[in-house]
């Protein structure tokens, strides 16, 4: 089972998201994964994430959102990270905008790994010191180091 730090590749880290709202943020993060050539069907991928998001918000509070879905459009679990200075409204239960957004997608048949990855990431992001570090990081290397240090 791969670690979060092994799933998160530097090209999939956006230190300054341009998006101002949720769907655009998901589109921006999806685009970096699609550009890597690891998504076999871009529309299916994006729609799967959006379908999950439309059912219920993936904003988990404390400035964090984890849009996620299982989809036929990929062969392995993939992960992208985006940071928004202004914050994006993910309709979190605590009412706060999300500044740290991790997008996770898994193949439909990899449910267990998907659940474990979500659980591990949620646990890491629940720590305030980690969120502070991620918000203050200046480079994608620093982002990766912060995640690596937590595993």
């Amino acid at each position: 089972m791969q670690k979060i730090s092994e799933l998160l590749l530097q090209p999939a880290i956006i230190l300054d998201l341009k998006a101002k709202e949720k769907v655009e943020a998901i589109k921006e993060l999806s685009a970096v994964l699609i550009e890597q050539g690891i998504v076999t069907d871009a529309d299916e991928f994006f729609n799967a994430i959006l379908k999950r998001e439309n059912l219920e918000s993936t904003g988990i509070g404390s400035g964090v959102a984890i849009p996620h879905a299982r989809t036929k459009a990929i062969k392995n679990i993939i992960l992208a990270f985006g940071r928004s200075q202004a914050g994006v409204d993910f309709s979190s239960l605590d009412g706060k905008p999300s500044h740290l957004i991790f997008l996770i997608a898994a193949p439909e048949e990899k449910k267990s790994e998907y659940i474990i990855t979500l659980a591990r990431l949620s646990k890491i992001l629940r720590k305030e010191e980690v969120r502070i570090q991620l918000n203050q990081a200046k480079t994608s290397e620093q982002i990766l180091k912060i995640v690596t240090d937590q595993e």
């Binding site: 059912l55 219920e56 239960l93 449910k111 659940i115 474990i116 659980a119 591990r120 949620s122 646990k123």
Partner: protein
């Protein structure tokens, strides 16, 4: 009318069956579920300093297991097209359940009859907004 249901999520078989039942109920009622997992810190006994690292690892595993339980319920809810929010809390279960119930103005709490909860206290403090499923 049950529009917003608090589901008490736990790592036990009876709780999994309860989650499945609650999802079916929510689907029929077009209700939204708030799945709440409470890491019970009152169940921990103080540990001597030499086991701090072990305790940290145990706590970390418990939290990860808690999130995994919540995300499993969420995945099932998605399959059933049921709206669901996930909440992880730490503390005394009865107190935290009531806090969540009140904060989000939920209509009731669904719990397993095999939970180690003080049902009488829960019923009293929620004014009977508890559904205990055996």
């Amino acid at each position: 009318m049950l529009e917003k249901i608090l589901l008490y999520a736990e790592n036990r078989e009876s709780a999994k069956a309860l989650a499945a039942w609650t999802l079916k109920l929510a689907k029929i009622l077009n209700a939204r579920i708030f799945a709440v997992f409470i890491i019970n810190d009152s169940a921990l006994t103080p540990q001597p300093a030499k086991t701090k690292i072990k305790r940290h690892r145990a706590d970390s595993s418990r939290e990860e297991a808690a999130w995994a339980t919540l995300y499993e319920i969420e995945d099932d809810a998605f399959e059933e097209n049921v709206k669901i929010s996930l909440i992880l809390e730490e503390g005394t279960p009865e107190t935290k359940l009531i806090e969540v119930l009140q904060s989000f103005e939920l209509n009731g709490i669904v719990v397993s009859g095999q939970s180690n909860l003080d049902f009488n206290e829960l019923i009293r403090r929620t004014h009977d907004k508890v559904l205990i499923i055996k």
